[in-house]
C-alpha cells in the first residue's frame, strides 16, 4: 500500500503521476461521492477565489492516511466542479494549484530532490551541471511552453545555450509551478456531458464572497458596469484587487486604464484598490488621477500588449482588445437577460 510519504507527495503535488496512480487505485465513482470529499472539493475551489494558497491546517502534521487520501481524491472532484463554472474561475483555480504547489515545493527540506522527482514524474528531462549557480538544465522547448506564466521566467532574462535553459533551484521550482498551472488548466476543459447532474448542481450552488456576485452598481460609458462581462484578463486582475492580493504594477496600470475606458468613475476605481496590501490612498489617488485625467492620455492596452506583458491568461480568447470584448459580452448578456424576462 501507499506509504504516508507517498501520500503526502501526491497531496502536495496533485499534478504528479503518483496522484493519478493513487486515484486509480482508490477506484471511486462519480455517481455516489462521499459528502466529505465534495465538501473538501468545494472549499478548495473557494480558496482559489480568495487568492490564498490552499493549506488546510488539519493536514499538515496529520498521520492519518485516510485524511490525506480524502484530500487527494477531492482534487479531481474539484476539477470537475470547476469545469462546470466560468472560465475566469478556471484560471483562478489553476493559479491556485500553481501557487500552492510552489508553496510546498519551496518549503521542502530536500527541495532540489523533490523538484527533480516531480519533474521526472511529469516527463520533463533535466540535467544537472557540475558547477555554477544556474546548474539545472532543461530543454528550451519545454521551458518556453510555460515561461510566459511567470515574469521571472521570461526567456530574455535566462541563461540560454544550445537549445537549453539553465536555471537555479528557485527558478526551477517556479518553472514547475508554471507547468502545474498549464497542466491543471488544460485538464479542465473536458466534456461536460459525462458529469452527473447532481455535481453540476453543486457547482452552480457554490457561492463566492466577492464583488462579482454582490450587487455592483456603477454606470459607465456602456451603461451599468458588469464585471461578469470583463474578459478573463481583467476579471483576473480585478478580482485579485478586490480580494486584497498583491497586484503587480503593470497589472494595476492596465486595470486602471481599462476601468477608466469603460467609464468607471475615478472614485470607484480608487476604491477598488482599497484592499490591496499597503494601500495608501494618497499614492493610489495620485496614480489613478495621473492615468485618468493627466496630461498624457493613457488608453487601455490592446490584447497584443496585454499578451506581451504576460497579462493575457486565456489562450483561446480571440479578442483583439479587452474593451471590445467587454462591449461584446455586455451586449450578449443584456440580450439574454431581456429574453429571460
Amino acid at each position: 500500500m501507499w506509504t504516508l510519504d507517498q501520500l503526502f507527495f501526491a497531496y502536495k503535488y496533485p499534478i504528479s503521476l503518483k496522484t493519478r496512480e493513487i486515484i486509480k487505485d482508490y477506484n471511486f465513482s462519480l455517481d455516489n461521492l462521499d459528502k466529505e470529499i465534495i465538501d473538501i472539493a468545494v472549499s478548495r475551489i473557494k480558496s482559489s477565489y480568495s487568492g490564498k494558497e490552499y493549506l488546510p491546517s488539519y493536514i499538515e502534521h496529520s498521520k492519518s492516511k485516510d485524511l490525506i487520501l480524502t484530500e487527494i481524491i477531492a482534487f479531481p472532484v474539484a476539477k470537475i466542479l470547476v469545469s462546470c463554472l466560468d472560465r475566469a474561475l478556471m484560471y483562478k483555480f489553476s493559479e491556485n494549484v500553481s501557487s500552492t504547489l510552489f508553496y510546498h515545493l519551496n518549503r521542502e527540506q530536500k527541495r532540489l530532490q523533490v523538484a527533480l522527482d516531480l519533474a521526472n514524474e511529469l516527463g520533463i528531462k533535466v540535467d544537472l551541471k557540475e558547477n555554477g549557480e544556474n546548474y539545472i538544465e532543461l530543454s528550451l522547448v519545454d521551458f518556453v511552453e510555460v515561461s510566459n506564466k511567470d515574469p521571472q521566467l521570461n526567456l530574455v532574462n535566462q541563461h540560454v545555450s544550445a537549445g537549453k535553459v539553465l536555471l537555479n533551484e528557485i527558478k526551477f521550482c517556479r518553472f514547475l509551478a508554471a507547468k502545474a498551472y498549464f497542466m491543471t488548466f488544460n485538464s479542465l476543459q473536458g466534456d461536460l456531458s459525462s458529469i452527473p447532474k447532481y455535481l453540476k448542481d453543486i457547482a452552480k450552488g457554490i457561492k463566492f464572497e466577492s464583488a462579482f456576485s454582490s450587487n455592483f452598481e456603477s454606470f459607465g460609458a456602456f451603461g451599468k458596469i458588469d464585471p461578469n462581462a470583463f474578459p478573463a484578463c481583467m476579471k483576473s486582475i480585478y478580482s485579485s484587487l478586490i480580494n486584497g492580493e498583491n497586484v503587480a504594477h503593470i497589472a494595476r496600470f492596465n486595470i486602471t486604464t481599462f476601468l477608466n475606458s469603460i467609464g468607471m468613475p475615478k472614485e470607484q476605481i480608487i476604491a477598488a484598490f482599497k484592499k490591496t496590501p499597503n494601500f495608501d490612498e494618497r499614492v493610489t489617488r495620485y496614480q489613478v488621477e495621473r492615468i485618468t485625467t493627466g496630461n498624457i492620455k493613457y488608453s487601455a492596452s490592446s490584447c497584443a500588449t496585454m499578451r506581451s506583458n504576460g497579462l493575457c491568461p486565456d489562450k483561446n480568447c480571440t479578442s483583439k482588445h479587452p474593451i471590445s470584448f467587454y462591449k461584446g459580452a455586455l451586449a450578449v448578456s443584456r440580450k439574454t437577460s431581456k429574453e429571460e424576462k
Binding site: 511552453e145 521570461n154 530574455v156 532574462n157 545555450s161 544550445a162 506581451s308
Partner: protein, 415 residues
C-alpha cells in the same frame, strides 16, 4: 476608382502576366512543404492579397494553378491546418506552425536611403529626399513615399539575418529545417521548419521573439549589478545574450571613444579619465567579472554602466517586427515564386551562400529580351549588375528585367 486604375494598366498587366507565366512554365515550384496543409493567398497588380483561404491537394495542383492563373503574388500560411480552406480561421484546425522571421530593408535606417528614396507631403506638397515619418514643413504624417533599394541597404538587412541565424543555431540549438529566402523585394525571410518548433504555442513564440529583440531585458537579473561598491558582471566564459552584450561592450571599450562613452553613459567626460588610462585593466576585469569603477561614487558608477549596457542591448537587439512574427495566421510569400511588385524571384538561399548573394542580381528572373517603356520618374537604380537612370519623362529601351521591374513598381508604361 480601382477599375479605372486596372483598365489604365491593362496592357502592362497583360505583359507582366505573360512574362510571369513563362517563368512558371519553366520553373517548378517545390515550396512550401506540406502543400495540402497550407492556406494560400494570392494577389494581383498592386495588391498583395486579394483572395485567401485557398488550398491545394498537392504540389502538382499548385504548380498547375500557377501556370494557368499566374497570380502576381502567392503566399502560403506559416501554419499547418487540417482543413486549410475552411473559414473562419478556427475551423481550419491548426496543428502546427513554422517559425518565420521577416526582415525588411525599409525597417532599417541606412544612409543610402537619402540617395534613392523620396517623399512628398500630401498636405502641403513639400518634397524631399530620404524616408521620413513626418513632413518637416507642416508636420503632417500623410506622406507619400517613393522607396527604392540598393545593395547597401539590402546588405544591412543581411547582417540581421546573419545575427539571427547565429542565435537560432547557437542559443536555440536549431540544427535542422532552417532556410532563408529573399523576399523578392528588399528583405529576407528566415524559416525554421522542424518538429521541435512546429508545436510551439503562440506564447512560446513570443518568448522566443522577446529573446531575439531583447524585449524588456533586465540586466540586473542577468548578473550585472552593484555588489557592495563594485559593479559586477557575469564572468567569462558566457554564452547567449550575455556573451553578445559583453562582446559588444568589450569592443566599445577597446575603441575607447570618450565621446561615445560619455554620451551613452550620460556622464561628464572628466569622470572617465582613469577608465581610459587603464584600458587593458578594464578589459581584463570585464572578463573576470567586474566593471571598472569610474571616477565617481558607487551609485553614479552603477548608473553609468547600466546606461552603457542598455544602449548596447538596444543596438544589438534584432529588428524583428513583434506583431507579424508572432501572428500565427499570417501568410508569407512562397519561396521561389515571383514578387509581383518587382518581378524578382523570392529566391531560396543556402546559408553558406548568403554572404555572396547579391539579391538585386541573383534574384533576377528575366535575363533575356529588351522592351521599350515610358518612364515617369525614377532615381538611379541597380539591377543585375548594372546601373540605370535616373530617368524622367523618358522613353527608353531597357533589358526585360529592368522594364519589368519598373512596370511592376508602377513607374513605367509600355509604349
Amino acid at each position: 476608382m480601382i477599375f479605372m486604375e486596372l483598365n489604365e494598366n491593362a496592357k502592362e498587366q497583360e505583359f507582366l502576366r505573360k512574362k510571369f507565366r513563362q517563368f512558371y512554365e519553366t520553373n517548378e515550384i517545390t515550396y512550401p512543404s506540406k502543400v495540402q496543409n497550407r492556406e494560400f493567398g494570392i494577389g494581383e497588380f498592386g495588391k498583395k492579397i486579394v483572395k485567401r483561404h485557398m488550398s491545394f491537394a498537392n504540389s502538382n495542383f499548385f504548380n498547375k494553378f500557377l501556370k494557368e492563373d499566374v497570380p502576381f503574388y502567392v503566399s502560403a500560411s506559416a501554419s499547418l491546418y487540417k482543413r486549410p480552406d475552411f473559414r473562419p480561421m478556427e475551423k481550419k484546425e491548426m496543428f502546427g506552425s513554422e517559425l518565420i522571421y521577416e526582415f525588411d530593408a525599409d525597417d532599417i535606417k541606412t544612409d543610402c536611403r537619402n540617395g534613392h528614396d523620396s517623399w512628398k507631403c500630401m498636405q502641403c506638397n513639400a518634397l524631399g529626399s530620404g524616408t521620413l515619418e513626418k513632413c518637416p514643413s507642416c508636420g503632417s504624417n500623410s506622406l507619400s513615399l517613393d522607396q527604392w533599394f540598393c545593395p547597401e541597404c539590402i546588405n544591412e538587412t543581411k547582417k540581421q539575418v546573419f545575427a539571427l541565424v547565429n542565435i537560432l543555431k547557437e542559443d536555440f540549438g536549431i540544427k535542422e529545417g532552417l532556410y532563408i529566402n529573399f523576399s523578392g523585394n528588399a528583405g529576407f525571410h528566415v524559416h525554421v521548419e522542424n518538429q521541435a518548433v512546429e508545436k510551439l504555442s503562440k506564447e512560446a513564440r513570443i518568448q522566443l521573439l522577446d529573446y531575439l529583440t531583447l524585449h524588456e531585458i533586465n540586466l540586473e537579473l542577468l548578473g550585472f549589478f552593484l555588489q557592495k561598491k563594485t559593479f559586477v558582471c557575469p564572468k567569462d566564459p558566457c554564452f547567449g545574450q550575455i556573451k553578445r552584450i559583453k562582446t559588444a561592450l568589450s569592443d566599445m571599450l577597446s575603441k575607447a571613444d570618450i565621446g561615445e562613452l560619455a554620451t551613452y553613459g550620460l556622464i561628464p567626460k572628466s569622470k572617465l579619465k582613469s577608465l581610459l588610462q587603464n584600458k587593458n585593466f578594464v578589459l581584463e576585469s570585464l572578463s573576470s567579472g567586474t566593471l571598472f569603477s569610474i571616477d565617481a561614487g558607487a551609485e553614479a558608477n552603477k548608473k553609468f554602466w547600466l546606461n552603457i549596457l542598455n544602449y548596447i542591448a538596444s543596438k544589438i537587439a534584432l529588428d524583428i517586427d513583434r506583431q507579424t512574427s508572432s501572428d500565427i495566421y499570417k501568410l508569407v510569400r512562397v519561396p521561389n515564386t515571383i514578387h509581383g511588385g518587382t518581378g524578382l524571384i523570392a529566391k531560396v538561399i543556402k546559408f553558406e551562400d548568403l554572404s555572396k548573394f547579391d539579391a538585386l542580381k541573383d534574384a533576377v528572373a528575366f535575363k533575356e529580351g529588351r522592351t521599350k517603356v515610358y518612364i515617369t520618374k525614377v532615381p538611379r537604380f541597380y539591377l543585375y549588375g548594372n546601373y540605370f537612370g535616373p530617368f524622367e519623362k523618358a522613353e527608353v529601351e531597357l533589358p526585360d528585367y529592368a522594364a519589368i521591374y519598373l512596370i511592376a513598381k508602377g513607374k513605367a508604361k509600355l509604349v
